[in-house]
């Protein structure tokens, strides 16, 4: 009897093992991939921005998810991500067509947004028509509340020019009240969408706060020689220098200020100040420079994110929109885990749920991310957040800025 059963067991064992293997193998193979599509600018004028903020984070996230076995579904199974990507060549027409292609030809499960305000607006009506949720991260627009209403599956996560400008004025106001800086401000702005939005909001805000704008000029996009502008600014008697600038200009103005030894107590530049490359531009003397964005330098999540971004991509992320881009992907991942891939359920989960991300707990308000860092400053190795000053994780601004 015992002999018999043992033999039976011994005989049955290999059979069971084989059949278990046979069952398991097709199961694993049957894990159909989740297709995720995106069209980003890999050539043309938008390629720089997309290459710094958008593409590296998409690649990092996809790699991490796939290494963990794939996107987790509500039933606990994991499906690997398969990416479909197109180059929109920085033209709106190609971008729009690529989205039509992703939605109706490739029939991807999810679509990630392109880089830039223009790109996100161009695809918004299509995303809405095809029903895809749109996590518009890299769009800065004061009209976000209206857009969120118009396209109810769109999410706007980088605030508007007004937010950044008024936060800067508040930061400077506090320094003025403390007697650290005088009431004179010299302001330059790039004649392009973002620069204009910021300067339009900053002008009345500065005046209301009792500042005098002793210099207020705009310069064309593509200006590389700031010598004449800075000469005039230097003679204006302003303690605060504010440049609402774009990357080549932000770097140019920094170089020029260093060359001429222009040392205002506040040195603020626009887009580009939070880029990892900025330290090199300023030859390691970036201490005290203010700009847009910032990160919570005390957060272990941020430190870990910076480390893995550096390891996988080869460069650290920028300290403004990169972490938010990554956080938007974490939100998507978590939302899929909670409700699956159904677009309607996903959109409503993104809109109402709260998510643990690299930038802390995120809960959207009226489809917008409002808990953002508006002003940051280089302090030591990090571009740390200084405004809003009452938000957990904010550092105190260093004013006056040390000399170059």
């Amino acid at each position: 009897m015992t002999q018999n059963t043992r033999r039976a067991v011994l005989r049955a064992l290999p059979l069971a093992m084989v059949s278990a293997l046979a069952l398991a193998a097709p199961l694993a193979a049957q894990q159909e991939p989740v297709t995720i599509g995106y069209a980003v600018s890999k050539s043309g004028p938008n390629a720089t921005g997309a290459g710094i903020t958008t593409i590296p984070n998409y690649e990092l996230w996809v790699k991490e998810v796939n290494e963990a076995g794939g996107l987790e579904m509500p039933d606990g199974s994991r499906r690997p991500i398969e990416v479909v990507e197109y180059d929109d060549r920085s033209t709106a027409e190609d971008l729009v067509r690529a989205i039509e292609r992703l939605a109706t030809q490739d029939k991807v499960d999810l679509i990630l947004p392109p880089w830039g305000t223009g790109g996100n607006l161009a695809i918004a009506p299509l995303m809405d028509r095809f029903g895809y949720p749109q996590l518009a991260v890299t769009s800065v627009t004061d009209m976000a509340p209206e857009f969120a209403k118009r396209w109810d599956r769109s999410f706007w996560m980088l605030g508007g020019g007004h937010d950044y400008a008024t936060a800067l004025v508040e930061t400077l106001s506090a320094a003025k009240e403390a007697g650290t800086i005088n009431d004179k401000v010299a302001m330059i702005s790039v004649a392009d969408g973002f620069g204009i939005d910021l300067v339009k909001a900053a002008r009345p805000a500065f005046e209301e706060a009792g500042f005098e704008l002793v210099y207020d000029e705009s310069y064309p996009l593509g200006t590389s020689d700031f010598a004449a502008i800075l000469n005039e600014v230097q003679g204006s008697g302003a303690d605060s220098f504010v440049a609402f600038s774009y990357p080549p200009g932000s770097f140019g103005v920094t170089k020029q200020a260093m060359t001429t030894g222009f040392n205002p107590k506040v040195f603020y530049i626009g887009v580009g100040g939070a880029f990892p490359i900025y330290g090199k531009i300023a030859e390691g003397k970036q201490e005290g420079v203010m700009s847009i964005g910032g990160v919570n330098a005390d957060s272990p999540e941020i430190a870990e994110y910076f480390a893995k971004h550096t390891e996988v991509i080869g460069t650290p992320p920028d300290s403004w929109a990169s972490a938010i881009t990554y956080a938007s992907l974490e939100m998507l991942e978590e939302a899929v885990k909670r409700v699956g891939l159904d677009h309607e359920a996903l959109a409503s989960e993104l809109s109402t749920g709260s998510f643990d991300t690299v930038i802390g707990e995120v809960k959207l308000e009226d489809n917008q991310l409002r808990k953002l860092w508006w002003v940051g400053q280089w302090q030591g190795e990090h571009f740390v957040a200084v405004s809003p000053a009452d938000q957990t994780g904010a550092s105190a601004p260093v004013i006056p800025k040390p000399e170059w």
Binding site: R89, E93, R97, L121
Partner: protein
């Protein structure tokens, strides 16, 4: 008889969006847009051999006009305004520059796009205080395609008519030798100007019709120099001096770039450059002329080769 055939052909083209779905319609919009752009570009630049890189200047003005006026005026009036603005601008530009020839004209036309872009930017910054503009028009891809198709067909008809008219003949003489043309009593300035204005107006309309696809418009979006370059290379590939040349260049190149953007998303600029060189070196007269040459060689009847076309 051939004209009667055009009507069912046009009807068939118009019915394509019903068959193709959203992505196919998007492709058709791009195709119809470029065919029209290239045909109208070749209308002026083909016979006169004035290589114009100003395409995007007019294209962008059309798009911007729609962005500015779409909330103020009914849509047909907006298009009319765009055409008017394009024509006026072409008239002013043409009056002041068509005396330039050769490389000077090429450089000027390239600068024009940047000039217009900076002027609009300056105006928006200093006068209106906004730069990005929104276009919320309820136009789907198929509506845009139908408009472009109608405009494209009209452009082809116009182009065919001009080729047969005295105006077309005068232009070809100018292209061959301006001095001879002047001596044979052709009013150089007026002839060039008329064609330049017609061609620029159509280009402006293409920009105006396509703009609602983009929702958000700012100078850096609508004055993208790639549009000018693509137009030239498509015309050169097909053969700028022939009626159907632009179409034969635009369709394959457009589809090729679409395919490349999916297969090699990281190499567009390199491939575009290589393509440029290939067209200029291998097919200097365009693909139609090359086909004709091969066929004539096969028949051994090179004597019937039209001298005018071959030298173009």
């Amino acid at each position: 008889m051939r004209y009667l055939l055009a009507i069912p052909a046009l009807a068939a083209l118009a019915a394509l969006p019903m068959v193709f779905g959203d992505y196919g319609t998007g492709l058709l919009v791009g195709l119809a847009g470029y065919v029209t752009l290239v045909t109208s570009w070749a209308m002026f630049s083909g016979p006169t051999r004035y290589i114009s890189l100003a395409t995007v200047a007019f294209f962008g003005v059309g798009a911007y006009t729609v962005a500015v006026l779409n909330e103020v005026l009914p849509y047909p009036l907006v298009l009319l305004c765009a055409a008017g603005i394009g024509a006026t601008m072409a008239l002013l530009v043409g009056l002041s520059t068509l005396r330039l020839a050769g490389i000077y004209f090429v450089i000027f036309s390239f600068g024009l796009a940047e000039l217009v872009r900076q002027l609009i930017t300056w105006f928006e910054v200093n006068v209106t205080g906004t730069l990005g503009r929104y276009i919320f028009l309820d136009l789907e891809a198929k509506h845009i395609y139908w408009q472009l198709l109608a405009l494209g067909a009209a452009t082809l008809v116009l182009s065919a008519w001009i080729r047969r008219s005295r105006l077309g003949l005068a232009l070809r003489v100018i292209g061959d030798d301006e001095t001879v043309a002047a001596h044979s009593g052709i009013n150089l300035a007026r002839t060039k100007l008329v064609l330049f204005v017609v061609s620029a107006t159509i280009i402006t309309l293409v920009g105006a019709i396509q703009a609602p696809r983009w929702v958000y418009v700012e100078p850096s979006i609508v004055f993208n120099p790639t549009v000018s370059f693509l137009t030239v290379i498509m015309a050169l590939l097909g053969g700028a001096t022939r009626l159907w040349g632009p179409l034969c260049g635009a369709v394959p190149l457009f589809l090729l770039f679409e395919w490349l953007s999916a297969r090699f998303p990281d190499h567009f600029s390199i491939l575009l450059g290589l393509m440029f060189m290939a067209v200029v070196y291998a097919l200097p007269d365009g693909v139609l002329a090359a086909i004709e040459k091969v066929r004539h060689r096969g028949n051994g009847t090179s004597a019937t080769k039209p001298a005018k076309e071959a030298s173009a």
